[in-house]
């Protein structure tokens, strides 16, 4: 989701019998729900998978600031401006905690940023869609942060201690974002003009399918899921998470008085879940490949910010070094 398609580098999941004593001890801890900490022994592939997953997750928080920034300077009143700015700032904070958690595994923020800028490490596909109207500030909070929460609530129980603790902290703020986003839409639907109501519906139409794609491909098309599940780096399958998200979102949608662009969506009494139509995975893979409406702009913005800021970071370091020398 925030980390879609994380490669574990493992072809086949080992059984306990096939493991070395170290690996077995490690797996037994995981099976007993004992958290792995930075100083503990861990298989190299576990370490690399986690770095990849946290790095993707952190990049998503940072790139995710951009579609919201697009309306920050045009927020319609002071209250909404304060809320949106505070939310964007929370996302920057999430990026920071995640980079720090990732650095406990020996990775480095600057190196991971280089990988983002070169396109080697991805961020969530959802942020390659443009924010076209103010209603998108509501929809993004409600659906995008909402989808993130469904995933991240489960990740609070992930096996790596620093990641799990970062998730616990982040989840509290994400639920706040989701409620705030929903309030934006509710206000427009309840008290707004017809034009505003149409703006909300249009926004939901555009974000619905991309939000469902945030959970990643079907389980049958997720070659790395089995290993990630055994390591408890992932705790629920993509399809289960997606179903959970739909089930909790549709009643909220009805309360808004809006619809989603899926004629096949309906409650299935026997399953106790909503049925829904087929997702267009060709769009997902195309966006992942770089063909989303905003891929190029998002990366360019991030790269420019980093490059234009290099002299500032160098100056701060040079100054700190001088101060240290003077103190010595």
């Amino acid at each position: 989701m925030y980390a879609q398609l994380v490669d574990t580098g493992v072809k086949r999941v080992k059984t306990l019998n096939e493991m070395s004593p170290e690996e077995r001890h490690f797996q037994e801890k995981i099976d007993a729900d004992i958290k792995i900490e930075a100083k503990n022994w861990m298989p190299e592939a576990y370490r690399r998978t986690l770095i990849r997953q946290m790095s993707q997750h952190a990049h998503s928080e940072i790139v995710g600031m951009l579609p919201e920034k697009n309306w920050l300077t045009r927020a319609p009143n002071l209250k909404r401006k304060l809320q949106l700015l505070a939310k964007i700032q929370d996302e920057a904070g999430h990026g920071l905690y995640l980079y720090s958690a990732m650095e406990t595994l020996g990775a480095n923020r600057d190196e991971e940023l280089e990988k983002l800028h070169s396109g080697e490490v991805k961020y969530s596909s959802i942020f390659n869609y443009p924010s076209r109207s103010w209603a998108d500030m509501g929809t993004i909070g409600w659906l995008v942060d909402g989808a993130a929460i469904v995933n991240q609530v489960v990740l609070q129980r992930t096996s790596y201690g620093p990641y799990s603790r970062a998730m616990i902290r982040i989840c509290k703020e994400e639920s706040f974002h989701q409620r705030q986003g929903y309030q934006i839409l509710l206000e427009m639907m309840r008290n707004g003009t017809d034009e505003q109501k149409a703006m909300v519906q249009d926004s939901i139409n555009r974000f619905w399918w991309p939000a469902l794609m945030m959970f990643g491909p079907h389980d049958t098309d997720s070659p790395n899921s089995a290993q990630s599940m055994q390591w408890k780096v992932k705790r629920m399958s993509n399809d289960d998470l997606r179903q959970r998200f739909i089930d909790q979102t549709i009643p909220q949608l009805e309360l808004l008085g809006c619809t989603v662009p899926d004629p096949d969506l309906k409650w299935n009494e026997a399953r106790g879940h909503y049925d829904f139509g087929a997702i267009d995975w060709s769009e997902f893979y195309s966006v992942l490949k770089g063909n989303g409406p905003c891929n190029k702009d998002r990366l360019k913005t991030r790269r420019n910010a980093y490059e234009n800021g290099a002299w500032v970071r160098e100056a701060a370091k040079a100054y700190a070094d001088k101060q240290k020398q003077a103190a010595a």
Binding site: I62, M65, L66, K69, L72, T73, R74, A75, P76, N77, L78, K79, R80, K81, L82, L85, A86, I88, Q89, A92, G93, G95, L96, Y99, W134, I184, E187, M188, N191, G192, T193, E195, Q196, T301, N304, A305, N308, G309, A310, W311, V312, R313, E314, A315, A316, A318, Y319, K322
Partner: protein, 253 residues
């Protein structure tokens, strides 16, 4: 001019300067040199928007026309805005942004400190709350002036240029006009000369520590913002900021 009218104008100057500077800071979001700076810029902007809201709510009440802080922020034209010219200047590079911020913060800090003793209890209360926030703003921006002034050759050169470029907009806040004088007489606003002396002492000490040359204090200073005569930059800033309420006048957000 009645005291009430002067007071309303004075509050607009305070609130408008805060909201315009905050709007400029918001433009940095997503483009700052580091994640830590995204957060710091966001913090300062949040504080300033909050302060603007307090000043403008008070101004709107004194006007007594049933307007809100939002109406004042999003419904007035360039000519009706009373912000200091320094606050509307474009962001430029990070040194330009920090030079603008530092010179403003140093004034803002001493002003708020003095306003805590205002005879107008509401002003004193708003100032006391804002002073806590602005104490941090000033600490941060002075630290950055020193870091960039005394960092690398490149940052030194950029910081010096930034101070030199913004300097002509730094005098307006220190110069009293009829409104400032009337409110000083009434014990509502402080003596501008005292604020000016404190500002000059802070600025010359900080620039010296940053190994930067302080431009002459008696340089020619641009004025007009407090009377609603702005640089060409403000119209574009307002066009962007006010877009939604102006495009959808009957909407509720």
């Amino acid at each position: 001019m009645t005291t009430q009218h002067a007071l309303t104008e004075y509050l607009l100057r305070l609130g408008d300067s805060d909201i315009i500077l905050a709007q400029r800071l918001c433009e940095w979001i997503g483009n700052a040199p580091a994640l830590e700076e995204e957060m710091a810029l966001g913090n300062v902007a949040l504080d300033l928007i909050g302060q603007a809201r307090s000043w403008l709510e008070y101004a709107a009440e004194l006007q007594g026309e049933g307007r809100s802080a939002d109406d004042l922020s999003f419904g007035r034209n360039e000519r009706e805005y009373r912000n200091l010219l320094i606050t509307e200047q474009a962001n430029g590079n990070y040194a330009d942004t920090l030079a603008r911020q530092y010179l403003f913060d140093a004034w803002h800090y001493y002003l708020l400190q003095a306003l805590c003793d205002s005879k107008d209890a509401r002003i004193a209360a708003i100032a006391a709350k804002a002073l806590k926030e602005v104490t941090y703003h000033l600490r941060r921006s002075s630290a950055w002036v020193k870091r960039l002034g005394d960092g690398t050759d490149e940052s030194h050169q950029k910081m010096q240029q930034a101070i030199d470029d913004i300097w002509t907009y730094s005098g307006e806040m220190l110069l009293a006009d009829d409104i400032d004088n009337l409110l000083f007489e009434a014990g509502i606003a402080p003596d501008s000369a005292a604020i000016k002396a404190q500002w000059q002492a802070h600025v010359s000490a900080t620039l010296e520590e940053a190994r930067l040359d302080c431009p002459p204090m008696d340089s020619y200073m641009q004025q007009g913002g407090k009377q609603g005569l702005h640089t060409e930059q403000l119209g574009f800033l307002l066009a962007e900021m006010q877009f939604l309420p102006r495009a959808y006048p009957d909407a509720v957000w």
